[in-house]
Amino acid sequence: MVDMPAQNPQRIVLPPHRERARRPRIVRFREWARRNLFNSRAGTLLTIITAAILALLIYGVVYFVFVDANWRVITENRWLLFAGGYPMDQEWRLWFSVMFVFLLIGLTYGTWASLGRRDHLFIVLASGFAVLLLAHGGAAIWSTIWYLIAVGLLYAGYAITIRMPREAGPGRTVQQRSVAGLLIAALPIVLIVLLAFGGARPRELEGFVLNLVLAPVGIAGGLILAIPLALGRASRMRAISWTCTTYIEVVRGAPLLGWLFVALFILDDVIGGELIVRAMVVLAVFTAAYMAEYIRGALQALPHGQSEAAHAVGLNQFQSMQLIVMPQALRISIPPMVGQAISIWKDTTLVTVILPLRELKGNADSAIAQFEFTPDRIEAYVFVAVIFWVVAFIMSRISQRVEGSLGIGER
C-alpha cells in the first residue's frame, strides 16, 4: 500500500482505455487499420482488392463527370427537362410553388424534428448542384435568385418554429395544427397556383413538374382511398368485405403499366377528360390497393384491448376508429407506406412509356433526340437518375424523422 494515489495527487491514473484514447490520432488510426483492414493475410488481400476497385470506380465517375461528359445536353435543355411545355411567361407560378413547399419543409422540420449536421450538408450540396445548373451560362440569373430565396424560406420557417416550445400546451397545439393543416392543404394550393386563374392548362404540365404533380396526387389520393378499403376488407359484412378484397386483388394482380393502358384507352370512353387526370386516377387507384393492405396489416397488429377500452369509455364505433384505432394503425404502417410512395414516385416515369405525357424521363428522350445531343444520352439519363434519387432520398429521410418524432407515445 505504498503507492497510494493520494501520495501523488498530480498524477491521475486513467483506466487503460482512456490512456489509449489520449494517444495521437495517427497512432489510433494505425491501430484501427491494423485491427479492421489488415488483421490477417486474407484480410489484407481483400482490403487491397476492394481499395483498387473503389479507386477505379471513383476515377471513372470523376473522369466522366468532369472530363468526358458533355453537360450541355442538360444546361441547354434545362427548361425542357424541368417544365417542358409549361408557358414560360407563367414561370413565377413554378417558383412560387417551390418557395411554398420549401417553406413548408422548414416549418415541418422545426415543428416535429430538427436539422442535423447531415441534413445541412445535404441541403448545401443539393443547393450547390441546383445553382450550378440554374446559373450556368448566366442567362437565368433570376432563377438562381428565386431558388436561393426558396432555400432562405426553408431556413426562415425552420428558425421560427424550432424556437417555439415543444412542451404540450395550447400554443404547441395551435402550432402543430397550423402546420399539419398547411401540409394537408399544400397539394391543392400548389395545383391551384400552377393551373388556375390564367395558369397552364393541365396538358401543359410537363417534365420534372409533371412528376412532381403526379406522384403526390397518386400518393395522397391512394391514401384517402386506402383507409375505407382497409376498413371495408376487415368488415364483418360479407358484401363489403368481398367488394374491397376483389378491388385490392384485381388491382394488385396487374402491373401499373397495364393500368396505364386502361387510362389511355378504356377510361377515355368511360370518363374522358384530360389524359393527365386519367393518369392521376390510375395512379391513385393503384397505390390505394397496396396501401390498403399495409393499413389492414396494422389494424390486425393493434391489440384488441384498444377498441374495447374505447367502447368502455363510451365512444361509438366511428369515434373509436377515428380517435383510437386509425391514428395508431396509420403510424404503424408509415414505413411500408413510404416504401410504396417512393415506388410510385419512380413509377411516374411509366406515363411516358404508355401515355403521350412528357415527364422528366420523356423530355430527356426529347433532349437527346436533338441532332446536336444524340451522343449524350448517358449524361441525360444519369442526370434523370440523380434527380429521382435526390427526391426519393428526401422522402426516406423525412419519413425516418416523422417516425422518430411520433415514437414518443410508443408502447
Binding site: Q306, V313, R411
Partner: protein, 258 residues
C-alpha cells in the same frame, strides 16, 4: 347484511335498489359454453368480488355487463336499462359503467391528460377546460397529478393502472368493473392500485371486481361470488367464504390459492 370490517362502514344495503340484474344469462363461444344460467342481483353501493379459476367465466360475465361480450340468452338490466340491440340503451349503459382492464389498455398515442378527457369531451360534450379540471381532480385522487402531460409508456405499470381508473371515473359512472386489475403488475405496485380501489369503495361506488387478491376480497367486499366452469357455484359474505365454505369446489379453490 352488514360487514364487520374496519375499512367499510356498516351500510344498510338492504334498503338499496338492485342496480344490476342478471337473469339466466348464457354465453357460448362456438361450442364452448362460457356462462351457464347465471342469475345475480347487485345492489347500489355494493362491493362484489368475483373469484374462480381461469376459464371459469368470471371475466366473460363482467364483460357482458357493458356488452364487450354479447350474451346469448337471458336478461341483463343495468340501472333500469335493458341490455339489448338498441344502440341508445347500449350507449346509456356504457356511460354508466366504467371498466378497468388487466392490461390497462391506455391509449398509447395520447397523453395521460387526453386519455382521461377523451370520453367526457367526445361522449358527454364537456368543454375542454372543464374536462381538464375534472381530469386533474381525478389524477389527484389516484395520487399522480404530476404525470398529467406524460405518455402511458413513460409510466410504471401501477401508475398506468391508476390512470386507467381515473379514465374510467371521468365518465362519472355509477358502476365500476375491474377485470383482474392487478394481475399484470409487478408485486411492489399492486398495493398502490388496491389502495385506490379501496378508497373508491369507501366513497360508495358500486364495484364488481374480478381478482385473486384475497386480502382485498376479505377486507373490502360485501359479497364474494365463486365461478367454476361457467356456473355460479357459491356466494356469500367474506366471513362465510373464508371460515365456512359449503361447496367442495370452493374449498378446493380456496385451499389452492390461500
Amino acid at each position: 347484511m352488514t360487514t364487520e370490517t374496519a375499512s367499510t362502514p356498516a351500510r344498510d344495503l338492504e334498503s338499496m335498489d338492485d342496480i344490476i340484474i342478471a337473469e339466466n344469462v348464457d354465453k357460448w363461444f362456438g361450442d364452448f359454453q362460457a356462462l351457464d344460467d347465471i342469475s345475480m342481483r347487485i345492489k347500489e353501493h355494493e362491493i362484489v368480488v368475483v373469484l374462480g379459476p381461469s376459464g371459469s367465466g368470471k371475466s366473460t360475465f363482467i364483460r357482458c355487463l357493458n356488452r364487450l361480450e354479447e350474451h346469448d340468452a337471458g336478461r341483463i338490466v343495468i340501472d333500469g336499462i335493458e341490455m339489448n340491440d338498441d344502440v341508445r340503451n347500449l350507449n346509456a349503459i356504457r356511460s354508466e359503467v366504467g371498466m378497468v382492464f388487466q392490461q390497462f389498455n391506455l391509449f398509447p398515442h395520447l397523453s395521460v391528460m387526453n386519455n382521461i378527457t377523451l370520453g367526457p369531451r367526445k361522449v358527454r360534450r364537456m368543454p375542454k377546460l372543464d374536462a381538464d379540471a375534472l381530469a386533474m381532480q381525478l389524477l389527484e385522487r389516484v395520487g399522480i397529478p404530476e404525470q398529467a402531460d406524460k405518455y402511458p409508456a413513460q409510466l410504471s405499470g401501477g401508475q398506468q393502472q391508476r390512470v386507467a381508473i381515473a379514465r374510467a371515473l371521468a365518465m362519472q359512472p355509477k358502476i365500476m368493473l375491474f377485470d383482474e386489475p392487478t394481475s399484470a403488475l409487478d408485486p411492489e405496485m399492486i398495493k398502490e392500485v388496491l389502495d385506490v380501489m379501496q378508497e373508491l369503495a369507501r366513497s360508495g361506488m358500486t364495484m364488481i371486481v374480478v381478482t385473486h387478491e384475497m386480502g382485498f376480497a376479505r377486507e373490502v367486499a360485501d359479497r364474494l361470488i365463486f365461478f367454476d366452469e361457467g356456473s355460479l357455484v357459491e356466494e356469500g359474505t367474506p366471513q362465510h367464504f373464508f371460515e365456512n365454505p359449503q361447496e367442495e369446489r370452493t374449498k378446493l379453490f380456496l385451499s389452492q390459492i390461500l
